[in-house]
């Protein structure tokens, strides 16, 4: 998908005409998460500058940008996964349903905000036990086997594995393993699901399956996904945020960002001039 050749659009476009450019949250849609004045440091080095954006509930939000722009770093702050790194520091505010995620217990937070990683990383356990893991430690309202089946169905994996639940997760193909990881994350019924380039290690067919899955899942939970594949972002997301060297350059509804980007840098990126 290419942006047609047009003169650069000026930044003076009112929100009412185009939705939103920049930092204002999109009016009228409920926000599951809100990020404001987020600055992030690894030791003395600052990698995120003054990020502010909202994550709309039950929608897919994509974070795009060239390598090293900070999109994965931003994603990982949303479930405080950055705290596993020793000298990572965060300044600013991140709200989940109006409450600061930094103030609440991190174990509880991570149950509400789940994560799927770039490379499929199932535990060295059976398929069943992988999905059941989160249920066993957090407790489950349903009986575990029911909850496992439910998650596997949501992840469009049930039919493929229902007769092999006791087999090792490593016997699955790459695409299946990634869907297993999605099922594992869904099992604890998170409100938000974060996905960090979930298809970059997969073949095109598996990628297509997962993209289809993500669009279906937004009824279940809010989705935020990092992707380096612009076409993917354009296909599946409702909102897209473009980052460059740690700054949020543009944040708009997806169709708008890809057809009439507000910033020259966005346009340069999506037309492939760099990145």
């Amino acid at each position: 998908m290419h942006a047609s050749v047009r003169p650069a659009v000026s930044l003076n476009i009112t929100p009412s005409q185009t939705g939103a450019i920049g930092r204002e949250p999109i009016a009228a849609l409920p926000m599951r998460m809100n990020i404001s004045e987020l600055n992030f440091f690894y030791g003395p080095k600052q990698v995120l500058f003054d990020i502010g954006m909202g994550v709309a509930a039950s929608k897919v939000t994509a974070l795009i940008g060239p390598s090293g722009c900070g999109k994965s770093t931003l994603l990982r702050t949303l479930n405080r996964m950055h705290e596993t790194v020793r000298n990572a520091r965060l300044k600013g505010e991140i709200l989940l349903d109006g409450q600061s995620i930094l103030a609440q217990d991190v174990t509880q937070l991570r149950r509400r905000v789940g994560m799927v990683f770039q490379r499929p990383n199932p535990f060295p356990k059976s398929i069943f036990e992988n999905v059941a893991y989160g249920l066993r430690i957090n407790g489950s309202k349903l009986p575990i086997s029911e909850a496992v089946e439910k998650s596997l169905r949501h992840a469009a994996l049930w039919d493929e594995v229902k007769d092999h639940l006791q087999k090792s997760a490593y016997e699955l193909s790459g695409g299946q393993q990634q869907r297993l990881c999605i099922a594992r994350a869904l099992a604890v019924e998170p409100e938000v699901l974060l996905l960090d380039e979930p298809c970059s290690a997969l073949d095109p067919i598996s990628t297509a399956k997962i993209e289809e899955l993500l669009v279906q899942l937004k009824d279940l939970c809010t989705i935020v996904t990092v992707t380096h594949n612009m076409q993917q972002a354009a296909r599946i997301s409702d909102f897209t945020a473009f980052l460059l060297t740690g700054q949020l350059i543009e944040f708009s509804p997806t169709p708008q960002l890809f057809t009439t980007p507000g910033d020259a840098r966005t346009e340069a990126y999506i037309t492939g001039r760099f990145g």
Binding site: N79, M81, T107, G134
Partner: protein, 328 residues
């Protein structure tokens, strides 16, 4: 000479340069000399196995398999049975592992998961030094510090609380299986710690992160995900420790009591294969006596050979799994 980027090969380099030229430049000579030294390692190993086999021939023929099941060790009547020593060796090794494994894995978890890189390296440095302390020094401390401690405090304490168990019954003199097991535990802990620490550190980060991302506490992610991922390598470290414990001589013989007894009580004095060889080899009168001791040495050799082989296999399997080339 094959002046290419290929791996040095053993086959003679054909073509480019003549044999005489190679000879003059010393390469063939160098190759031959270093080959002889390398092969001498193989020869000496084979010779060792042969010496053990031959040196125990008399005893093997006289006692056969019964050697392993006879309790009697009577040099005067020329009756030699290995059972008390096998029992003692296994008993002390078991006690040492019961103590060393939880302590060692716990410490390894701390070093791999909790400590900062600098602290972890610093502590590992001390652990490596601990591994370098010779057996006789442990024996020295065993005799003068541990044995009195056991005799005056620990054993009476155990008797008072758990004396109804056969494990803690009988007279307690300070020496015995328990004391030897404790000293051995201290000696093998560094091996469990260093190997386990390394395998834990090689578990891919995203395993831990996946567990945390599902709302695990730090302990849950470590104990339920990271440690199971590394379990094969940790087993390998335990086998390594066991092999070390089986072959330990000096520290054990100084604190075990040196009596060929088979007893359920941990307070009882006992004997191990290595200890009896150490004590009686130079006193052995007569060929049968000596060869029975050599046969014990052969048994010990085989035991440690098997364990070390298993250990290395397990450690290799873990490192393969970590890099994703093998399935769980």
């Amino acid at each position: 000479m094959a002046a290419t980027t290929s791996v040095p090969s053993a086959s003679p380099i054909s073509g480019s340069r003549s044999f005489v030229r190679r000879l003059r430049e010393g390469d063939e000579v160098a190759r031959l000399i270093t080959f002889l030294f390398a092969v001498s390692v193989v020869l000496v190993t084979l010779l060792l196995i042969f010496a053990l086999w031959q040196g125990s021939a008399l005893a093997r023929h006289k006692f056969g398999l019964q050697f392993f099941f006879t309790r009697v060790w009577d040099p005067i009547a020329e009756q030699f049975g290995a059972l008390p020593f096998i029992y003692g060796t296994l008993m002390t090794a078991t006690v040492s592992l019961v103590i060393a494994v939880p302590l060692g894995i716990g410490a390894a978890i701390f070093l791999a998961e909790l400590a900062s890189a600098r602290l972890s390296d610093a502590l590992e440095f001390f652990i490596d030094l601990l591994a370098a302390v010779p057996s006789v020094i442990y024996g020295l401390l065993g005799v003068f510090i541990v044995v009195p401690l056991m005799r005056d405090y620990v054993q009476p304490g155990l008797k008072a609380t758990l004396g109804f168990l056969p494990l803690f019954s009988g007279p307690a003199y300070g020496v015995g299986f328990l004391t030897a097991g404790i000293v051995l535990a201290i000696m093998v802990i560094p091996y469990i710690i260093s190997v386990s620490r390394e395998v834990l550190m090689s578990v891919p980060r995203d395993q831990r992160e996946a567990a945390l991302g599902l709302g695990s506490t730090r302990w849950e992610s470590t104990w339920k995900v990271v440690v199971p991922f590394a379990r094969t390598g940790i087993m390998g470290s335990i086998f390594l420790a066991l092999a070390r414990a089986l072959g330990e001589t000096m520290a054990v013989t100084m604190v075990i009591g040196n009596t060929p007894t088979i007893s359920a009580s941990l307070f009882s004095p006992g004997y191990t294969i290595a200890a009896v060889i150490a004590n009686e080899f130079t006193e052995a009168t007569g060929d049968l006596y000596l060869q029975a001791l050599v046969e014990l040495g052969l048994v010990l050799f085989l035991l440690t050979f098997l364990l070390n082989g298993l250990a290395r296999l397990l450690i290799v399997i873990t490192s393969q799994r970590g890099s994703g080339t093998a399935h769980a």
